[in-house]
Symmetry: D2
Subunit: 426 residues, 4 copies
Amino acid sequence: MSAIPSAALKPQAATLPRTFMLRQYTRVRDYSLELTATLSPEDQCVQSMPDASPSKWHLAHTTWFFETMLLRPFSPHYQVFNDRYHYLFNSYYESLGSRHPRPRRGLLTRPTVDEVIDYRRHVDAAMQQLIEHAGPDAWFKIRPLLLLGLNHEQQHQELLLTDILHLFSCNPLLPAYRSGSDKDSLSPASMATEHGLTWLPQPGGTVGIGCIDTAGEEDFAFDNETPRHHVLLSPYRLADRLVTCGEFAEFVFDGGYQHAGLWLSDGWAAVESWGWTAPAYWMAPDEPEAGIEGWQTFGLDGVRPLDPSAPVTNISFYEAAAYAEWAQARLPTEFEWEAAARDPRMAQVTGHAWQWTRSSYDPYPGFRSAPGAVGEYNGKFMVGQLVLRGSSFATPPGHTRVTYRNFFQPSARWQFSGLRLARDNI
Amino acid sequence: MSAIPSAALKPQAATLPRTFMLRQYTRVRDYSLELTATLSPEDQCVQSMPDASPSKWHLAHTTWFFETMLLRPFSPHYQVFNDRYHYLFNSYYESLGSRHPRPRRGLLTRPTVDEVIDYRRHVDAAMQQLIEHAGPDAWFKIRPLLLLGLNHEQQHQELLLTDILHLFSCNPLLPAYRSGSDKDSLSPASMATEHGLTWLPQPGGTVGIGCIDTAGEEDFAFDNETPRHHVLLSPYRLADRLVTCGEFAEFVFDGGYQHAGLWLSDGWAAVESWGWTAPAYWMAPDEPEAGIEGWQTFGLDGVRPLDPSAPVTNISFYEAAAYAEWAQARLPTEFEWEAAARDPRMAQVTGHAWQWTRSSYDPYPGFRSAPGAVGEYNGKFMVGQLVLRGSSFATPPGHTRVTYRNFFQPSARWQFSGLRLARDNI
Amino acid sequence: MSAIPSAALKPQAATLPRTFMLRQYTRVRDYSLELTATLSPEDQCVQSMPDASPSKWHLAHTTWFFETMLLRPFSPHYQVFNDRYHYLFNSYYESLGSRHPRPRRGLLTRPTVDEVIDYRRHVDAAMQQLIEHAGPDAWFKIRPLLLLGLNHEQQHQELLLTDILHLFSCNPLLPAYRSGSDKDSLSPASMATEHGLTWLPQPGGTVGIGCIDTAGEEDFAFDNETPRHHVLLSPYRLADRLVTCGEFAEFVFDGGYQHAGLWLSDGWAAVESWGWTAPAYWMAPDEPEAGIEGWQTFGLDGVRPLDPSAPVTNISFYEAAAYAEWAQARLPTEFEWEAAARDPRMAQVTGHAWQWTRSSYDPYPGFRSAPGAVGEYNGKFMVGQLVLRGSSFATPPGHTRVTYRNFFQPSARWQFSGLRLARDNI
Amino acid sequence: MSAIPSAALKPQAATLPRTFMLRQYTRVRDYSLELTATLSPEDQCVQSMPDASPSKWHLAHTTWFFETMLLRPFSPHYQVFNDRYHYLFNSYYESLGSRHPRPRRGLLTRPTVDEVIDYRRHVDAAMQQLIEHAGPDAWFKIRPLLLLGLNHEQQHQELLLTDILHLFSCNPLLPAYRSGSDKDSLSPASMATEHGLTWLPQPGGTVGIGCIDTAGEEDFAFDNETPRHHVLLSPYRLADRLVTCGEFAEFVFDGGYQHAGLWLSDGWAAVESWGWTAPAYWMAPDEPEAGIEGWQTFGLDGVRPLDPSAPVTNISFYEAAAYAEWAQARLPTEFEWEAAARDPRMAQVTGHAWQWTRSSYDPYPGFRSAPGAVGEYNGKFMVGQLVLRGSSFATPPGHTRVTYRNFFQPSARWQFSGLRLARDNI
């Protein structure tokens, strides 16, 4: 996501044993390196557009986060690995001083990948010390920041994949991030059976939304999911599954990208400016009459035939909204989505594709940013973006919640973003 | 406003007598010409930025609206004034065919102002015929479209003033739109007494928002104000008046425009890109130590000393939000604003300055666009904009409602937009 | 032209009688107003692109030139018309202080056309006084600056026409600057007989180029035409007439705009960026198979059928060079052009279309800018531009010389610029 | 340079023995790898601006040149290494089909550096076969193209250094390309003694310029150096050495970058747009009053104190021309430079810094492009650029000639470009 909400700090988190936390730390940190294991040093260095970051930068920035938020304040004997890294790997924290400009992250050929991995090891060793040996008072403060840092790194793990896919899509050789054998885990899975869509009626009424600050069923939440509050909903219906590539192809074939009347005004301007004719990474056949069989998609597994029963991904909010209009439906609000998320009939809630909602990313009533640097990644992004709910096949295991609020600009297409339809209950 | 919501069509409107409607038509149409009476032909032709339109274009486009929506469909013997005008003066109706590009409106030196006035007279004569002589069935359809056309023209009357002010602000001669004698009606009025701000407690709870489609206390509403529905609000407090120039100047003097921590991320980017240091049209004194006395503002009356007790205007949403942060307050949501708008203690609700809210311009639950061209000016703008409530000193008389939803992009500064503060009730 | 070379100051000019000079002054000044007589105030105010200026600005700037270069220094009792005009109507003289930015000239709706005409009258009256009553020493200095001012105004007279044509071309109504009766003087004339092109052999050798500073056959020259010097030329051949629209149409029909191999690299980039498919102001028929009969051109007389025997105009240097390549010829250097200009067999030397040469606009050997503001319009433009020779049908009578060096950027298409072919003598 | 002129094909070249040519081939090819030996894979992949190319791209493109121009046409059994490379590594040859866009060269993380080196080995092996075993008729055609390919690669060797320096300058860590021990060969050498500048009088007259097509003292020349022809020069004076950093610093300290009167109009616009205050890679001291001692420069050896007696480099044509104006001198024309280049009193003719001349890059009289792809790198760049003469410390050994015409756009600053002053002889 383009910004990483800070943690809702929960006292009870302090009760989890340190050994558990250290295991978690190791597991999350190792997974980042696992994700980059097959990439060449060049792959990890280049930035394919201002919105994306190099893999190496992700590896370094997540490390910088632990160094800055935990080791510097809480570890008195910590030796900073390299003074200049504070400038290089700060993402957007104004309160932490000036920083390397985002669109120029790809110019940092130095430090090399190997040096960044050394940086990770240096910080990991110090973090292990801190987790094991911090005094109880410090640990009370450290524990929630540690959880935040791990969730932060998990967000970057997904971004690392969306960013590398974008980079590879710019290369005429269209290299595959991974070969076929392990493909299942890195592409949107087809439904086991291609069942027709079912509209699930939802009662609406007064529903609770978001997380309570001080307790809750989940162990962790970002503060943009708080405060928990209630909203009034009219009855509505929600599709039991995501829109598929096959369904979206019908929209394409029906002239969806040529008919202004289906689009939001800004969406139509985007279609015309960028010449969109299909979702990102869809590749039309050479012969227009080839039909859906001729289409291919480019993904982390490389180029493959378009799978009609897989959820559509890599569409902007504009495309999601135009499709819904075409399908005589609409997008759900984020409140409608959350209220229905525990309905056992609803499939593909998480783990398939992020789902654009019809909700702008506004603060919840009573939301206030935390003071200091940690507070910078919340309210400051709450304008001009749309909320996505659920999670995708690329979201790290364990990093999903029904209260989770992901958000991107409405034109963003490089995420694994799809849609679920809703309808008024008439 | 950047888009003009279509009317919520109300049957009871059909019962108003035609003579009343004709009087209304004449009054509104005449007022447009009155507003441009002191402008030179050059003033009326030039476009100072893509967001603004030439006065002449406003005069022609509002006329085109009546010609297109009423005379063409309902007046069988109507002679179109000039076939090419359909292309020239369509604003953004995709369903009505291609049109002259918005950023090039200022290149239309022809037709001249005189020709546009002839066009207005031609359409006005035909409209008078139509209003007086349409059959009862036609009148039933005409009446709501006529109301829409008049409200549409009133919206353009305010835009005409904001656009001409922007144009004049680009001229080093800083010409005044009107001389001093009538200034009171065209600048934000000072409070009679400069009283301190009072926080009005509001109970919250379940409140009704928006207009009912089929009846209501008002005679007319745009469809973005519908459907009427209920929302849940927590208790909150609202300022009894708008933020003044004097108060905003304290923010300026306190380094508000230099402190990133007060700003939304996009807002800070705007400050840095455009070099904002104060509201639009504020002119700093040559000697920095001159204090607030040395500041001037440019307005429709020309250059005048900054009036500390007048409401601040011509600020973006970003500036409104940063000010609120600095003032340890926040902006109200559009629902909080509307719920309190009839509180008799609240001053400056309308007629002073539009008030930025903390609500993105999203559709109300159950909102659907009307079919056809009329439907184009609703849902299609519902993304990426923020809601403003109230109205300004430049809003035509009678064109205000507590359910009215104005909307602009968060960076817009050329409107008469200010703010009212809110606080959580703790 | 984009810059106006200053005068080569010639002592003998001082001997011309003042009455003659006053007559010249009146004639030139009147002609500017004659050119704008049919334009509406709106036509005179709008700027259609940064390279073009509003008619009103041309009228004011040429007046400012006399006020600044002559009345301020030499007329002690002169009352400046308006202090702010010095800022508004300075074109690019850095030594005269800051000035209104060129791309914003079209925002000056004030002063109005009428006020600019008053400004002209005010300056004209003062100039008449100065010409008649200046003392002999002052006159000695005034005389060459007066000549410069008049030649400067003549250059702007042609620009006024090219700029108004560009403006009108942006209006879908395609208004005509003048009606048909006087068309002959404002469009490129067809050759009386459509004769085939004849290659005129030229001997080359050592030839004199440019004007002598201190005397010469012409009464006036800009300093970029000096110093006179000699160049060595190989024998070559020059076309006896300009390339016609009919010939250029063959290039168009032969795929000239699709074949990269014919173009300079920057030229091909321009073709691709701007989608050029024919000269500016050429309008293709709706049916591609219509042939040359279906093409039209837009000019000062409005839309007319393309005249195959008229010289092609409104082409960039890139198009001229690509055409020459296609025609297995080349453009002449400015030296080859000048050396042959007095050959009586050469037709259309002046008065038809400016002729792109293969010479970059570099200084002549020994050229030095004059000191002060007058010197600013010479050397400072001598990079990145190409030389055009001759003159066009829109050049004011008397404003042509075989040593004249006009210059524009190679992508410029809004001038009346065509070409004459050359070949090596083999 | 931004384009690589093709060879003037000289028959006598065919007489050189193949063993000599193979030695040359190996020497040049090895030198490219030597230049990149210290670079990380990341360093070799990133493109820091559209004008620059990644090192890896230079290594591949020069290889592609031999494959395309020699192996494909002349080596019937040659196995193309990878079909897609023809698209990826074509620079700008329109006649060879579509190609990867220049500004996206840095997105090619694949092929990796190792794969590119394999590509080089593959081509080198085939080239060795070709050189040793081609039949005599083929060899007659191969020989000049081989020479061209080697000179082409040498040009890219210098570009590789200028491009890597630009990339490193974008990195806040300011890495050094090479460590200090070998610095002498990769930075502009100070004059042994800091002698005052001497003006060398030159007689002018009729001088021969450029190379003869069919024979000559040099073994090789690009075709933009032909045909040899004569020009007439007035007497002039030329500085016996280049302008030093110390001299240029005086211009900086004297406000040279603040005084518009010294600059060409486009140059002043560049100063204002890009905020130039000194040559590229100069680093001002933190304390403004530190004087020249406080300044540093960034070069291939990293950051070093500015050496006042070293030739200034990394300046644009605009800066060279402004400096000359400030020094009451001028730049020589390329003809004046060449005519004096063999004067034994002239120092720093080659091997120190390229020298901007006051000559636009126009074709020599009688110049014609060769047919086919080879012809594409000549005439097609002959507009909008300025000629530089001499060569720099980074030019490969043996790759200099007094007739050599290097050329760049007047705003280019990333080359090792300096200046030598000239004066009229008065």
